[in-house]
């Protein structure tokens, strides 16, 4: 374990707000994923009342689709906002308590301070990816027949995709935290941007024809969501004739990483110049 992570653990270990919010995130995420099939099929049932030919029930937990479906449900805006708020609180607390000043005075460099926060973001992303992978593997095993199990490796890159999405989104939160420094203000602005402002911009930018290389898909939060943009629902493909995503594309992962790189660079640059 690095020295910086060790310090970061001390700051988190007995911090109740962190554990409560992180616990809620874990709870919502698990509940969402485990109830998803039930909810989807409930919707199918109500649609079937109006359809001449009823749609079959959907199974989302078998290999290899389970990987894509888990990645999709774990990177929904309303779920991702939880760990982002946790990161914002961890960063802005340092300004509220002025502990960032004390850390620098005691002999941390500003770069080390920033790295300590990036390391915790990286660690949280890895832990969440690992949890999701284990969860998807167990659920997949229990829902797949022998034929499907032989395909289980196929969708695994979606776990890497989820990792990129979560990591990048938390870096956005890191960027907002160091930019605004105030807990309430940062949470309000970040939530507002993620959940309201960007969807509105997206709505106006999006051309009426669904073109894949639409400019609106390059918006920062949208780029994060697009890594696993749709759930794997073969029925939808057949019935509605939609050309849905079947694998994680390198370009969809590159865009959020590019944004993250730029934001990290801006934070390092401004922190080396701004007064504390």
């Amino acid at each position: 374990m690095t020295k910086l992570l060790k310090i970061e653990f001390k700051k988190i270990l007995t911090y109740k707000v962190f554990w409560i919010l992180f616990g809620l995130y874990f709870l919502f995420l698990s509940a969402g994923i485990l109830l998803a099939e039930f909810i989807i099929n409930h919707m199918v049932d109500s649609m079937n009342k109006h359809l001449p030919i009823p749609l079959p029930h959907i199974n989302i937990y078998f290999f290899p689709d389970v990987w894509q479906n888990f990645a999709f449900f774990a990177s929904i805006r309303y779920v991702l906002i939880f760990p982002a708020i946790v990161i914002i609180i961890l960063i802005t607390n340092e300004f509220t308590f002025k502990t960032i000043r004390q850390n620098i005075i005691n002999g941390m460099s500003k770069a080390e301070f920033l790295l300590s926060k990036l390391q915790i973001i990286l660690l949280i992303s890895i832990i969440m990816m690992a949890s999701l992978t284990i969860g998807a593997f167990i659920i997949g095993l229990s829902h797949s027949g022998t034929h499907e199990i032989s395909f289980f490796v196929k969708g695994i890159p979606f776990m890497a995709g989820f990792f990129i999405s979560l990591f990048s989104y938390l870096v956005y939160a890191f960027f907002f935290g160091f930019l605004f420094r105030n807990t309430g203000l940062t949470i309000a602005l970040f939530t507002l941007y993620s959940l309201i402002i960007e969807p509105i911009i997206y709505f106006f930018l999006k051309s009426p024809l669904v073109i894949k290389n639409d400019i609106s898909t390059y918006l920062p939060v949208n780029a994060v969501l697009r890594v696993a943009e749709y759930p794997a629902l073969p029925v939808l493909k057949k019935v509605m004739g939609l050309e849905l995503q079947s694998h994680v594309s390198i370009s969809s992962m590159a865009i959020p990483l590019l944004y993250s790189g730029i934001m990290i660079a801006i934070v390092f640059w401004t922190m080396s110049r701004r007064d504390l």
Binding site: K3, K6, I7, K10, K11, T14, Y15, K16, N93, F97, K98, T99, R101, Q102, N103, I104, I105, N106, G107, M108, S109, K110, E112, R273, D275, L276
Partner: protein, 298 residues
């Protein structure tokens, strides 16, 4: 003599306010160096610059004769303004973080907590501490690992008389161990009691610096009246250490820049043919003296 800190022509401006103006200071090993000035004179800004919290607009500084770095800060224990700790961690956990940053073991934590009388409360969360305890924890944190230099910014601010006495005694103990101390204060009395050297700041400029005994020498004043006031005036003007005088009513107020023995003064007047029928010594308050120092330099 080993130079611990040298500040060379540092300036810092906040908008229209010139917080620090071409300030130069040199602190030598073993000194207890006071930075004395009223609120807003640039003390905290100066300390923040030499601890890399603020960027100076101009000028430079060196710690231990070398380029300042995070490693030089590890040899410096500092209390700047308010005590800054995590409210939800206890004293011991907060000091563990400090020790981690400074690459130290935890075995010194109990010592500094005992020194600052916080040992019994080391498992209580910081947020439950009284203001005096918070201030003492900040000092404990600064003393962790016996740093070469201790920087204390208004260490007794807001403490009760007992707390003030305790902190001052602690600082003197540390100074006795040969640790260099830099102490910023707006209290002349504090600087005079604790420091060996001082720089007096006002509006970001250095007014004087030197040994406390020289810079802050208290000039005495006397109130006199005699049978021949005109003659008395002439005698006093020639008296060594004479500074100024003014006539108020029946009495003459005389200021000296050095310490004067009233017996000497009385004898001199008598030998020169003036018989005093009134002689009283006036000790000015230290604060009054400090205000005069500032006023003389405006």
């Amino acid at each position: 003599m080993e130079t611990i800190l040298s500040i060379n022509g540092i300036s810092k401006r906040y908008g229209k306010i010139q917080a620090v103006n071409e300030l130069s200071i040199e602190v030598v090993k073993g000194q207890v160096f006071g930075i004395l000035g009223p609120n807003g004179s640039g003390k905290t800004t100066t300390l923040s610059i030499i601890l890399d919290l603020l960027k100076a607009d101009q000028g430079s500084y060196a710690w231990f004769g070398g380029h300042p770095s995070k490693d030089s800060r590890k040899n410096i224990g500092s209390v700047i303004e308010s005590p800054n700790f995590f409210p939800y961690l206890n004293a011991y956990q907060n000091l563990q973080i400090v020790a981690d940053i400074k690459d130290m073991e935890y075995d010194d934590i109990d010592r500094v907590l005992t020194l600052t009388s916080l040992y019994d409360r080391k498992r209580s969360n910081f947020r439950t501490y009284s203001f005096g305890m918070k201030q003492r924890l900040a000092i404990a944190s600064a003393m962790l690992g016996n740093p070469q230099v201790l920087i204390l910014d208004e260490p007794t601010n807001g403490l009760d008389p007992q707390g003030i006495a305790q902190i001052r005694e602690l600082i003197l103990q540390v100074a006795d161990q040969g640790i260099t101390i830099i102490l910023a204060s707006h209290l002349l009395d504090e600087v005079q009691k604790i420091c060996s050297h001082v720089a007096v700041l006002n509006k970001g400029k250095k007014l004087f610096s030197g040994k406390v005994s020289e810079v802050l020498a208290i000039s005495d004043s006397f109130e006199l009246a005699g049978n021949d006031m005109e003659k008395l005036q002439k005698i006093l003007i020639e008296f060594p250490g004479f500074k100024s005088m003014n006539l108020s009513g029946q009495h003459m107020q005389v200021y000296f820049s050095t310490s004067i023995n009233p017996e000497e003064l009385n004898l001199l007047c008598f030998q020169n043919g003036v018989v005093l029928h009134h002689l009283s010594e006036r000790k000015r308050s230290l604060e009054q003296h400090f205000l005069e120092l500032l006023q003389d330099n405006q």
